[in-house]
């Protein structure tokens, strides 16, 4: 009982300290728009995923984040990648209407309009080291490497490690640790 009380007291002190520092803002972070956050996630993926050397463009060719289908980001993606670079490759955004259009691309966001044809898309991307990302899939669909799942008012990550490994991509523990990892489904 004594231990519990001292632990609780410590937590109350901690809470009071946070309080005095005006950290009410920490308790309930300021909301931002959903696609702004998703755009920043894509930016983060560029830094926390390792591509095999063969999949990266030469020299100072751009590192491409592609959007397949009807773009839900508005200007958010452009805003995020402006003047940014990854390992000397400037970041660029590309919009595709079909998988056939994809040339140099490292990250591909599959939009809601295309997710219905997911199986065909993933098959076409099979031997390329492209990190596939999408919003939460319908139950029964899988194969996308990172799902941006909306849980109440937060965006969480659901990572399919198997799919990433199959594409020869290594995902940093910085992304894996806070994410939900999904395993193979039969």
């Amino acid at each position: 009982m004594g231990l519990l009380r001292s632990v609780t007291a410590r937590r109350l002190w901690h809470g009071l300290a946070l309080l005095l520092l005006g950290s009410g803002a920490l308790a309930a972070p300021t909301p931002v728009s959903e696609y702004q956050v998703k755009a920043v996630y894509l930016f983060n993926f560029a830094q926390f995923v390792e591509w095999p050397a063969a999949a990266l463009p030469g020299d100072s060719a751009p590192f491409v984040i592609g959007v397949l289908g009807k773009d839900p980001f508005g200007t958010a993606l452009e805003d995020v990648v402006r003047s940014e670079a990854v390992n000397q490759h400037p970041l660029a955004i590309a919009h595709y209407r079909s998988v056939a259009e994809i040339r140099n691309c490292q990250i591909l966001f599959i939009t809601a309009s295309e997710v219905a044809h997911l199986d065909g898309i993933l098959t076409a991307l099979k031997d390329r080291s492209i990190l596939t990302v999408a919003d939460a899939l319908e139950p029964g669909q899988h194969g996308v490497m990172i799902e941006l799942v909306r849980q109440e008012s937060r965006i969480r990550l659901r990572i399919d490690l198997q799919a990433a490994k199959a594409a020869d991509l290594t995902i940093s523990s910085k992304l894996l640790r806070p994410a939900e990892i999904v395993g193979p489904r039969s």
């Binding site: 005006g22 950290s23 920490l26 308790a27 309930a28 008012s153 969480r156």
Partner: protein, 655 residues
């Protein structure tokens, strides 16, 4: 606590939180310079992945994708809407839904319904708070004076007009209100909210914390005094009331599970004229287990205990114990079919002793009764084509007094495009008999005026059609129409031969039809408009053999139309101005004229965790009637008491 500005966060706020991170976590963060006016995207890029995952994201609805597919007329009142409008009581929060009719009767009583049949004993609405049903079995209605949720703790309120899907069961005839509170992990830290005005004084405190990594909790206490409403000639209606409530919620989230324990207790009293005053107290405890079974299937088990005590000393007491257990299992067959099935059992002990006197003639016989309600249900959702979903469901319910009822429903949703869908539904719903329908006696000396009869459940077959479009995250429109065929509606009839005693029977039937529409429009990134309107036509008639006592008006008192418009504006990075206008049509019987209500609220963030605000309600008329004059039949509860203008100043600290 925040203003919730969707597109512009104050650089100062980011600076404050980054400084705090430095001090408490000793992690080096690049400080945002004082002169920086970096777009929020720049600030976001500096966050770690953990911080990104904890960011709150704004949207009109909880899950735009899912809402777009719901084959029902569902309006979601978001937490944002509640906080911005300043609504504190549950009826005030419900006024934000354009598909509900909310009418204030006295300071503490309200008539709330959807699609007609409104009255204090409005019986056709199912109301749940975190899965706990809050209707009172003695009249199948809801005592709004004992249901309180802190606005900061509301995650969302789902308002479905129309028969709830088979999952919800009895009394979900005209609608379902589902109040969902936030998980404890979303209400961490301290919060104090206090305010006073010409009509109301209120204060609440809450603290949320953590016991280890996976257990979060919160505890709160809330107290208010709500002043009197006014009689038609502006005098004190002697109906002020006060209540104190406290409670807690604890969530434990080991991987794959969510176990929640929550409870509340409250006590309050309402001045009545003539005395005595009525007091109410209650306690409840809810335990819930959500288990992830893998492969997108899940199990939910919920049990709760609820105790409620109303007391009018010297006249009557109502003590109600409720014990409820519900189980629900959801799983997928292949990629296109989702089955949800389950069942539940509810046991209620209602004890309603009455002291009969010259002025108090009504009583329940027997004074105490045990009511048992059992149900099993199954619902199958099939994606018969990628854009077409068919939902077939059936629930069988064993009701107190009358036994088994079958409640089938069929729904179809068709996605016209990513942003638009149409839906159609046919359902059967039933309003179970209550103690009022079966056990009520009115005794005048040796004469029995009313006696408990053989009341059967009221029936509804509903045909609905709707269209919904969500063009961007913040702009949407929804239109629903319905055609309801009612049978076995409650009437009061004489004993054979036209003799007393009278009793409740089921000799009314009819049709109602109408349209409900609402939309939101983001005019600028700092200005949003919400609009809603509903129309209702009723065509009710007595069946042959009915004594037609009190006319078809006894079914409910409803306006033929209702419209609302609200505007939310953000300014100067710290300010919020909210304006809410509503126009409610006249009520036929008991009569009350159409009225216009205007609410306004001005709020200012003195700091990220301190907000002051001033709000006014019903600003146009010095007083107005919402629900009809005092001469009214028993079930409707009208008193002729009017609602006055009110202003309220408030300080909120914390989140």
């Amino acid at each position: 606590m925040y203003l919730g500005h969707p597109a512009r966060s104050s650089a100062r706020r980011w600076q404050a939180s980054l400084i705090c991170l430095m001090l408490t976590l000793f992690v080096g963060q690049p400080a945002v310079g004082a002169g920086d006016t970096i777009a929020s995207t720049g600030d976001l890029k500096r966050l770690s992945v953990e911080e990104l995952m904890n960011l709150e994201v704004t949207s009109v609805t909880k899950e735009p994708q899912k809402l777009l597919q719901a084959a029902a007329a569902i309006y979601v009142i978001t937490r944002d809407q509640i906080l911005r409008s300043g609504a504190r009581s549950v009826p005030d929060m419900l006024r934000l839904a354009p598909n509900l009719q909310v009418a204030q009767i006295t300071s503490s009583t309200f008539a709330v319904s959807a699609r007609g049949f409104n009255g204090t004993a409005a019986s056709k609405l199912l109301v749940l708070i975190d899965g706990r049903s809050v209707y009172t079995p003695y009249h199948s209605g809801v005592s709004w004076d004992v249901q309180d949720v802190l606005p900061e703790d509301v995650e969302r309120i789902e308002v479905i007009s129309g028969p709830g899907a088979t999952l919800w069961g009895a009394n979900a005839v005209n609608g379902v209100i589902n109040i969902v509170t936030r998980k404890s992990s979303d209400t961490q830290g301290p919060m104090v909210d206090a305010g006073a005005g010409n009509l109301e004084q209120r204060g609440s405190v809450q603290y949320g914390g953590q016991l280890g990594a996976a257990v979060h909790y919160r505890a709160y206490a809330d107290s208010f005094h709500y002043g009197h409403n006014l009689t038609a000639d502006g005098m004190n209606a002697q109906d002020d009331w006060r209540k104190t409530q406290g409670g807690f919620r604890m969530d434990w989230a080991p991987p794959g599970d969510l176990i929640t324990l929550q409870g509340d207790f409250y006590g309050g009293s309402e001045t009545k004229s003539p005395p005595p005053d009525q007091s109410a107290s209650g306690q409840n405890l809810v335990a819930r287990w959500n288990h992830d079974l893998g492969r997108d299937s899940g199990l939910q088990v919920q049990a709760y205990v609820d105790h409620l005590l109303f007391s009018l000393p010297g006249i009557a007491t109502d003590e109600l114990y409720t014990y409820d257990l519900d189980v629900q299992h959801s799983f997928y067959i292949g990629k296109r079919q989702n089955i949800v099935w389950g069942g539940g059992y509810r046991l209620q002990y209602d004890d309603f002793p009455t002291v009969l006197s010259a002025t108090q003639l009504l009583t329940f016989i027997p004074k105490d009764r045990k009511l048992a309600l059992g149900n099993i249900f199954v619902q199958d959702t099939v994606a018969i084509m990628p854009t077409v979903k068919l939902i077939l469901g059936i629930k069988a319910e064993d009701e107190p007094y009358t036994g088994w009822q079958e409640l089938p429903n069929a729904r179809l949703s068709w996605g016209l495009s990513d942003e638009q869908m149409v839906w159609a539904a046919v359902s059967r719903a039933v309003r179970a008999a209550s103690r009022l329908d079966r056990d009520l006696y009115e005794i005048l000396g040796p004469l029995v005026v009313i006696r408990g009869g053989d009341f059967q459940p009221e029936k509804l077959t509903a045909y609905e059609l709707g269209y919904r479009a969500q063009t961007t995250t913040d702009t949407s429109v929804s239109v629903s129409t319905f055609y309801n065929v009612y049978d076995a509606l409650r009437t009061a009839e004489y004993s054979p031969g036209g003799q007393l005693p009278a009793m409740f029977a089921n000799l009314m039937e009819g049709e109602t039809y109408g349209v409900e529409a609402w939309g939101t429009y983001q005019v600028r990134d700092w200005w949003r408009l919400d609009a809603g309107a509903s129309w209702l036509r009723k065509n009710l008639r007595f069946k042959p053999g009915s004594a037609q006592i009190a006319g078809t008006a006894i079914a409910g008192d409803d306006p033929s139309y209702q419209a609302s418009l609200s505007s939310t504006m953000f300014f100067a990075r710290q300010g919020l101005f909210y304006l809410g206008l509503r126009q409610v049509g006249s009520l036929p019987d008991p009569a009350s004229p159409a009225y216009t209500g205007l609410d306004a609220r001005l709020a200012w963030d003195l700091s990220p965790s301190l907000q002051v605000s001033l709000q006014g309600q019903n600003l146009i008329h010095s007083q107005h009637l919402e629900f009809g004059t005092a001469v009214a039949p028993l079930q409707l509860g009208a008193t002729g008491v009017e609602t006055g203008r009110s202003v309220f100043g408030r300080v909120t600290w914390g989140y």
